[in-house]
Structures are given as C-alpha cells and as structure tokens.
Symmetry: C2
Subunit: 300 residues, 2 copies
C-alpha cells in the first residue's frame, strides 16, 4: 500500500483566461489521484466542514482510501488563492488560509500502519516527521518541501530529509535549500543529509534523478503545445513516480528511471485542465499510451 | 563542404576562478572547430593584424580551410570582454569592440561558392543576407542570432530567417524575437517566416527541435558535474549539428535528431575548459564515445 500525507485543499486559481473558485486542490490530492493510477493509495489529511462531499467522493471514485482524511467540524479547509501571469509561468499568491491544517496532529488509521510506500507531500516538516514515526516499517519514504518551510524551518526540513529515503523537489527550491546553483551539487548536499536519491523537478525542462551511488538520469519533459493550469504538476509527478515504484514493488535504478518518466507523464496530464479535472478523467490506457508516446518522442 | 560565416574574435573571459585575456573566440571559431570533427569545414570572417598567427594555425590544425579569413592590416580584431558570476550562469559584458567586423563586406573564396551546407553564425543579419547570395546552391542554410540584432535590426533578422532553411537560437533570444514565452509558439512563428525547422537551445536544459511538418524532439542536455567556461557552447552546438548533417549529407528527421545530440555533445565539450581549448584537443573517438554515453544516460 502507498500512503500519501499532505494538504487536501480548496484552490482559487486565476489565469488570464479563466478563474476557478474553491476547486479541489492540495499536494496530497494531486499526488494521491496520480498514484492511484498505479497502486492502491491511501490519503491522510485534514479538511474543514466546508469541504464539499463531492470532492472526497471524487477521490473515492479513484479507489483511494480516504479514511485518513479527518474532517474538523466547524473548521475551514486550507484555501490557496493565486493568480497566474499571461504565460502561466509566474504565480502570485493572493491569499493562503491554513485553516485546519495549522496545528493538525496527524493520526493514521490502523490499516495504513503497514504501508510499504509513503509520500510526504509538501507540508510542515514537523508534522511529516511525526507521522513518519507512526508507520511500522515502510520500504521507501519520499518527501517534498517548498520555499515556505525552507525559509521558516530549515533545520526541520533537513531532519525530515534525514528520515526519508528520497527527495522530490523543485529546481528553485533545491537551490534555495542548498544554497547552490549547480543541480549536481544540490543533490550531493541533500544526499549528505541522509537521502539516498534526489529528483530535481524542472517544470517544462523535465527532471533529473541523482542517486547516492553516483548515477544520474536527466529526462526531458513531455512536450505539450498548450498548458491550462500548471497547479499540481509537481505533486502529480511525485504521485506517478512513487505509484510506479509501488506497482513494481522495487526501486532499483532501472525502475526509478521508468518512474521518473511516469512522473513526467502524470505531470503532463495534470496541466491540461484546471485543478484535478484532467487527472480524474484519464484512464490507465491513456497513461500507458502517453508513456509509449514519450519513449517515441525522445528516441533517436 | 560546410562553410561557416561569423565572428573570429579575441575574448577576454573573467570567471571568479580565473581570467583569460585575449584568447581565441568568436561564434564562427567555435562553430567551425566543432563542425570540423564531422565534415570538411571552411570559415569566412575578418580579423585585424593583432590576431596572433598561432590562433589561425590552431584552426588549420583541425583541417579547417581558413582562406576565407580576411586580415585587415592595421585593423583591430573583434574583442569581447566579459565577466561571469560565481555560478557561471550570468555574464556581464565589460567591453564589445567591433573593430574590423563593423562594415565588413564579406567576400568568399571561389572554392566556397559550391558549399552544400552554410552556417551563418550570429552576425549582422545584413552581412548574412549578403554573403548568402554569393553561394551557388547550398542544400541547407542554418542561421543564429542574438539580442543585439533582434533589438537593433529585427526586420533584417526576419528577412535572414526567410532566406535560411533552419534557425538555431537560444531560448531567451527566441522569446525576445517572437514576443512569446511558449517555445512551440516561438518555433511556429519563426517557421511562419520561412524557416523549415527551429532548434531552441536551452543551455543546461538541453534543446528542442521543431519542424514545419509538426515534429518535435526534446533532448535533455548531457550531464556535467563541472563547467569551466560556458562561452561558445551554443556555437559549438550549431557546429556539431550541421557537421553531422553534412557528414551524413541528409537532413531527414531521424538524422536531425542525431545531429541535435551531436550538438549537445559538442556543447558539453566546449564548456569543459576556457575558450576553444577543449574543443581543439578532443578526438573523433571521444566525440563518438560521449554520444554513446549520452544515449546510455537518457535510456530507460
């Protein structure tokens, strides 16, 4: 079983072309829908009573175990309101309302304790460290983090990385965390903190996988003509990566390379529509077809 | 035969680690040394009497035909003085002395007239258009351009592109030229001006080839731990690309994809030492070995 922990949110996303108000979002939401295409997935998070039941039903429609999603009665769901520029490349945060996420003391249903694969989506690193201790003996733990925690709780981020096996992180955040520009140096530094591998996500430029036995795998991004909403691409990448690893139940270099491509594929689906809309509609066949298409695309 | 036209320069390159004064540089220099690894190359350019004879001999040592390099007695060679930041990612121009390049009226030796392949390295687009008319019937003409000409002579740049078959251009310059951020849209715009294919070079993120029959080839960059001097990477890419095309004497999509990888390979050699130092020392075997290594690296 694969368990994803992180935010289950309501997003207000504004692009120059369209605005979507309080749609289903959150790092754990994207990651779990993405991983559910590959492996049995459970989700842990917290929402307020303002979270529409249909949104949770959408997760359940992907056979995601949502028992781990706690509803705080009278509480407010994490809400992120942001605006993209004309090129959809820069996002400005208008409002970040933590709501019930602040001070959440994560508990996990008994059935999740034996999860083999755990993804700690971007979240308070102290909460991530805490929840990690509740799992019995996961085979592989992967975490992500963002600017907010790197700036505010860097020591805890490093502690969390030490407890994880792998880190999936955005290019700019890797640079901020490591105070290095060169990605190889960033990866080496992160691995010196105890992580066995690092994946640096570069958005439209793809991703690079580094391992602590000095292997490297640079992968170009799947090529898209049009992007509708970049929200959740990185989380969908992580879900696809760990989902494929969980499906194969191994994480040798060859499997991890395939998993990076599945991550690219899932990220490419995520951005084709607002929020999780596209992710919810794709079929396993479409995923495999795009994987083959990608292989063809980069072949020479 | 492949003919390269562009600057043959003296570069003063300052990095936080070392400064090299008045070393051999220039777009045509990098491109021609790079292409000479693949095909018989001729170079057209202009230098002053301050250009050390050893520099021209270095080109000849790669069997480059330098008859097209005109020396203006008493004139000064194009000199570019720049400083890289600590990360070698940002360059500041300290001085740009055009010297004999300003107002050069390009002539080509009679033997070059029948060149099948022509690379118009970054240069005054009016000079590029002029020289192009002097070739009899080249099979493939590829050009590059930079910010300076896009800002100052955009109409001439578009005219030059109309006369060329392919464009090899940096990501930021493509965006500046096309007033678009999305690379696919940039490529479409450039092809609407008459070019049959466009390669957008993305530095450490690799390159993307677009063709006017809607084919796309994204290629990750060859991965390097350490970069010494980024100068000339793009010109070396172009030289490797066109060199391979000239060697195969065809430019179907499959050959162009291989050529993009050879471009990546040559760019990766160029940055391993100051100026053309590394390019001058590599062997054909090393080029092929790195090509195989690259294929291995991106395989999954």
């Amino acid at each position: 079983m694969l368990t994803v922990f992180g935010t289950v949110a309501l997003d207000t996303t504004r692009t120059p072309f369209r605005t979507e108000i309080r749609i289903l979002g959150g790092a754990a939401t994207f990651a779990s829908i993405s991983s559910s295409m590959f492996a049995q997935t459970s989700i842990v998070g917290v929402v307020g009573s303002d979270m529409p039941a249909d949104h949770i039903k959408a997760l359940m429609s992907k056979h995601i175990d949502t028992k781990g999603v706690v509803t705080v009665q009278g509480g407010k769901t994490f809400h992120y309101d942001s605006t993209f520029d004309y090129n959809l490349s820069n996002r400005t945060a208008n409002k970040t309302e933590l709501g019930v996420v602040a001070g959440f003391d994560p508990v996990i249903p008994e059935e999740y304790v034996k999860s083999d694969y755990v993804y700690l989506a971007n979240n308070d690193p102290r909460q991530n460290i805490k929840i990690l201790k509740r799992f019995q003996k996961p085979k592989l733990v992967v975490c992500d983090t963002i600017e907010f925690w790197i700036n505010g709780s860097r020591d805890d981020v490093v502690k969390m990385i030490n407890m994880a096996d792998g880190v999936v992180i955005n290019d700019n955040e890797a640079r901020l965390l490591c105070k290095e520009v060169n990605f190889a140096k960033c990866a080496k530094k992160i691995m010196s903190w105890g992580s066995k591998f690092v994946i640096i996500k570069k958005g439209e430029h793809g991703a690079i996988l580094f391992t602590n036995d000095n292997q490297v795998f640079p992968a170009a991004a799947f090529f898209l003509d049009e992007i509708v909403d970049p929200t959740g691409a990185g989380d969908s990448f992580a879900g696809g990566f760990l989902g494929h690893v969980a499906r194969r139940n191994k994480f040798d270099f060859a499997t991890m390379k395939e998993a990076v491509i599945y991550g690219n594929v899932m990220g490419s689906f995520a951005v084709e529509d607002f929020g999780v809309k596209r992710l919810l509609s794709i079929t396993k066949d479409e995923v495999e077809e795009r994987y083959r298409k990608y292989r063809n695309l980069v072949q020479f």
